[in-house]
């Protein structure tokens, strides 16, 4: 079984890109991917409307798509929204530094505490590599403060491998690895049991993500199985 954890649907206003659930499912069929986690483009601040599209996608393809909702910790109604999304069947929450809330801030910690209460993983998404103004110390302090919370950390984060090696509640996606060998290299400090296949569609391709892992001679069949689906099944308790 193959499950990919990094797929956007909806509208990206920065580059005016639209992506529908049907387009994603078609790509899944062609690539041989069984299920995908889907969430909005984090570039879109109109997250309530974009989360509605994700909910519609989950309803249309309940056997194929697992929905995560996008959240901005600055919204005063954040907690009510999160409880509502849990009831609607969303499986996790995604947030991103683009909302301008530091990982050390009270608002960010409230989001994490709410996710903990709702027993949801937190996807720490990012679209930047190395230059963004995210301070790693508050991020690490937050990861260490909430060891019960399961985090998916974008491999975009500066020293994401080092962070994941240190904090055992952190999982990494494969989206930014330029080759399967780079993913294999992560397994030494982090362990294969916390690496998840993530293609970052529609920017990335599901087929390419599988190819990367298939052609990495350093990975065993068992390790691939973990990355393809077993780790995520354990993470989401499915």
């Amino acid at each position: 079984m193959k499950i990919d954890v990094h797929n956007h649907i909806g509208f990206d206003p920065a580059y005016e890109i639209k992506r529908t659930a049907d387009e994603l499912v078609k790509e899944m069929d062609e690539a041989g991917v069984d299920k995908c986690i889907v969430f909005p483009f984090t570039t879109n601040p109109d997250l309530v409307e974009q989360n509605k599209l994700v909910k519609a996608a989950m309803d249309r393809h309940p056997e194929r798509l697992i929905g995560f909702f996008l959240m901005n910790p600055r919204l005063p109604e954040m907690v009510d929204l999160m409880y509502g999304y849990k009831e609607q069947g969303f499986a996790g929450v995604v947030t991103d530094p683009r909302f301008g809330v530091d990982h050390g801030s009270k608002q960010f910690h409230e989001l994490v505490e709410c996710a903990l209460t709702l027993d949801m993983p937190v996807w720490l998404h990012s679209d930047d590599k190395d230059t963004m103004r995210v301070y790693i110390a508050p991020l690490e302090a937050m990861l260490g403060k909430y060891p019960q919370v399961r985090f998916i950390l974008s491999s975009m984060y500066y020293d994401s491998t080092g962070i994941a090696a240190k904090y055992k509640n952190v999982y990494l996606d494969t989206a930014t690895a330029m080759s399967g060998s780079m993913t294999a290299a992560v397994t030494q400090p982090v362990g294969t049991h916390r690496v998840l296949m993530g293609a970052n569609t529609p920017y990335g391709l599901l087929k390419r993500e599988i190819d990367k892992l298939e052609y990495a001679e350093e990975l065993t069949g068992f390790q691939r199985k973990l990355i393809y689906s077993e780790n995520l099944k354990r993470l989401l308790k499915i």
């Binding site: 206003p13 920065a14 580059y15 601040p45 991103d96 009270k106 930047d128 230059t131």
Partner: protein, 269 residues
């Protein structure tokens, strides 16, 4: 006349709003006009006027945030017309909402437009950036854009955007921060691009700019944004004064260039 071309003002929040979102003991952040005017007056030499705009709406959690902060700037201009010149903030990620707000505040007289692409993690030359710039050009206003070393707002990205609008002037604020040499190379190649001096790490690059690019496209600015800390106006003035520029050059950078630039979009300083 001395004009500070970069100041963030915010309406004071009640304590209840502050403590709801901040940890206990954190000092309230922000700067009102009433707190800022004494700062201008205390500077040596005194700052006559400042170009002001909002702060928290640079990446807006709702479209209403831009409206709220831009309205505050308009209120301040009514109260202190001799001390301030106003700019409106636009967050391009809000699409049509952003365009509507841009039209609203320009029609109300704010003919300078502040954008900080790294706040919403948008590459400056992305489609949304191009769309907002096209509207600004139609309105005959002046874009002023934060710069830094990120993928989003570095001088080369901003320069690429400026290149697409050769008939519109724009300001690269902060002189590229650590990427001041990149800002210099952009300005050498694009006549429509200006820089401001706020947060410039190496003041000698002001001289390099005047020698190699020109004397007319560099503006004194402080980026003052907080009651305590932040980049304070006197410190920003000292950054320029320490260079012992000839009087003609000093007058240009401290105010004359800004007056001329604002005049080009119909704003009287």
């Amino acid at each position: 006349m001395i004009i500070d071309a970069h100041v963030h003002l915010m309406e004071k929040k009640p304590d209840s709003a502050w403590v709801r979102t901040q940890w206990p003991g954190q000092t309230p952040f922000g700067l009102s006009a009433e707190e800022h005017i004494p700062k201008m007056d205390a500077c040596k030499p005194r700052i006559d006027k400042s170009l002001i705009f909002g702060l928290s709406s640079l990446a807006s959690d709702t479209p209403g945030r831009m409206v709220e902060e831009n309205n505050y700037v308009m209120d301040v201009l009514k109260k202190y017309p001799t001390r301030y010149i106003g700019a409106g903030v636009v967050d391009p990620s809000w699409g049509d909402h952003a365009i509507n707000e841009l039209h609203r505040f320009v029609e109300k007289g704010l003919r300078v437009v502040k954008i900080r692409f790294s706040s919403m993690h948008y590459h400056a030359n992305c489609k949304a950036g191009q769309r907002v710039f096209a509207e600004i050009e139609k309105l005959g206003a002046l874009p002023i854009c934060h710069s830094d070393w990120t993928h989003y707002s570095n001088p080369l990205m901003l320069g690429d955007l400026a290149r697409m609008f050769p008939n519109m002037k724009m300001v690269i604020q902060h002189f590229g921060e650590y990427l001041s040499l990149d800002a210099l190379s952009v300005c050498k190649n694009l006549d429509n691009v200006y820089v401001d001096t706020s947060a410039l790490v190496h003041p000698k690059n002001i001289v390099v700019f005047m020698d190699e690019v020109g004397e007319d496209r560099i503006l004194f600015a402080s980026d003052t944004l907080s009651v305590r800390g932040g980049l304070q106006p006197q410190d920003a003035l000292n950054r320029v004064l320490c260079l012992d520029l000839p009087k003609k050059r000093l007058d240009k950078v401290l105010g004359d260039n800004t007056i001329k630039l604002l005049k080009s979009v119909g704003v009287k300083a």
